[in-house]
Amino acid sequence: MAEYLQQYLPQSLAYLTAALVHAVLILVVVALGTLIFIWLERKVSGRIQDRLGPTRVGGKFGWLQTLADGLKLITKEDLRPASADSMLFLIAPYVSLCASYVAYIALPFADGWVAIHLNVAVFFIVAVLGLEVFGVMLAGYASGSKWSLFGAMREAAQVVSYEVPLGICVVVPVLIAGTMDLVAIGQMQAGWFFNWFLFHDPFTFIVFWVYFTCATASVNRAPFDLAEAESELVAGFHTEYSGVRWSIFFMAEYSSMVVVSALAAILFFGGWNGPLPITHWLGLADSANPLAHYVANLLGLINFLGKAIAGVTFMMWVRWTLPRLRIDQVMATCLKYCTPIAAFGFAGAVIWTFLFPGGLVIPNKDWVVQEEYQLDEPQAQSAASTSAASTSPLAHADSGLHAEEHHGTD
């Protein structure tokens, strides 16, 4: 994009504009996503509980309910307890939001539609999502309330624990794909739905459920929402928050849900690739025409968002179905079940890929992991990798297309 803009603008301005466009786009996703999902949650919970949910605001389905709520929250007084550590108290919601927001910059929404095409995107997203807990802990401590502190402590213990099985689960698709580049992983699962890693082998299928459990826990959703267990801790870490700051915590939570669902979609459900290779059939994906490619990506985006929304909806379904666990049950779930199962799945996947290199059913052999470095031909490889060089590491920000092309044609 920056290169495109550079034709019309000075270089510095072009980069700046490109960066801003990416940032704003992601922000829109985050904000809009939150609006939609809160509305969705109300409707889903309503239906589950045999009621209608919001129906009035904004017309027939109450679809402006969230906006109204948001306006209400904005107009509410921003309270701050006297015993609070004011600086940390004010900053904590933004820390949370930043963490989940930053995760989006490495998240591809379609083939190559990614803010920063990171080589270690999976790693990066998992790492950054782990930072969200900082906001919660700071909020819990800074509120100067014991309920908040207890909530924060639970959250810290829970998130740190669940990062272990989560990490192992995430490693399984990475192991199969041979790369941590999310774009590459997504591209590998193109074609039929049985190309999805979910169906790669029985272990990945098991691992996906573990992943989803752990993801639910690490974004602090029911039945793992111990940090805000209203029956014990009033409202947990955000007991003392109100108004805008409270709503920012909500935004962070919902955007995190989207991120983990989207990650699941990319890692296990083929990302932007639909269950049927429609774009392939239409010839859009393989076309050299940029416009065709663009259309294909639009379809992929719809696919991807649909999978992410499905994941989020599934989380809501779980939330309104299962009762909350006790804290010891939460930890037991992590340490006694999730971690061993994930480790078992990991070991199984390793053995499976060793026994059946390339998997049982992978028709598109093109996407088998490439040996990046052929030991006998180092020079050529190095030359190839430098040929597509951009100007600087910063160029990652907008060299997504190039990089992806490079991999694609390889």
Binding site: L131, M137, L149, D181, S382, P393, H396
Partner: protein
């Protein structure tokens, strides 16, 4: 006017944030704020790593350092953060002494950092960052693919990988996990009750 070097700009940004919050860590007496500043300083450092082309190390920094170590640290802070321990004052004399000694160390380090010509900035031909993750992984498994480019054959063949250190670190981590769990265990109350918990 020379074009702005964005690399430098972002370096300055991260460096200032990193150093600034390091100093803030030093100067704050509230331990929770210290932890928060440390998070920011380390996060900024990971930005520096990204800028230096070490994307895997940067991600690692965020993942382990910021996400793991510091969460642990804050966890510890919260466990021990009772009123009087949140901010413990250091006598002014020690501050002065520390400032003198630390200042001299800083002078020493800075003079060392700036005196070697080879370390001065050079106008490098901009090059695409090569992804490091795979190469690092190979190196950890004992294959130094990066050293294959070495013109010096002794260099090329003599460079072992990091398999042994990797294994050692793995075992070390395991031992540390067990050990810290053992160290931080609650005190046994009675002999009889342990049988039940086992």
């Amino acid at each position: 006017m020379e074009p702005i070097n964005w690399h430098s700009v972002f370096f300055l940004l991260f460096a200032l944030v990193g150093c600034g919050f390091s100093v803030a860590v030093l100067l704050t007496s509230n331990v929770v704020r210290m932890a928060f500043y440390l998070v920011l300083a380390l996060a900024a450092t990971s930005g520096l790593f990204f800028l230096a082309g070490a994307d895997f190390v940067g991600a690692m920094q965020i993942m382990i350092y910021v996400g793991g170590t510091l969460v642990l640290l804050i966890f510890g802070v919260m466990l021990t953060a009772r009123g009087p321990f949140i901010s413990m004052r250091t006598p002014a004399g020690e501050w002065i002494l520390g400032a003198i000694i630390g200042g001299s160390l800083l002078v020493v380090l800075l003079s060392a950092a700036t005196s070697v010509r080879a370390w001065r900035p050079v106008a490098v031909a901009e090059g695409e960052a090569r992804p490091t993750a795979t190469r690092l992984g190979m190196a950890l498994l004992g294959a130094r693919v990066d050293k294959l480019e070495e013109p010096d054959p002794t260099q090329r063949e003599g460079m072992s990988g990091y398999l042994l250190p990797f294994e050692i670190v793995s075992v070390h981590l395991l031992v540390v996990l067990v050990g810290s769990a053992y160290l931080a265990r609650p005190k046994k109350r009675a002999v009889g009750s342990t049988a039940e918990t086992v």
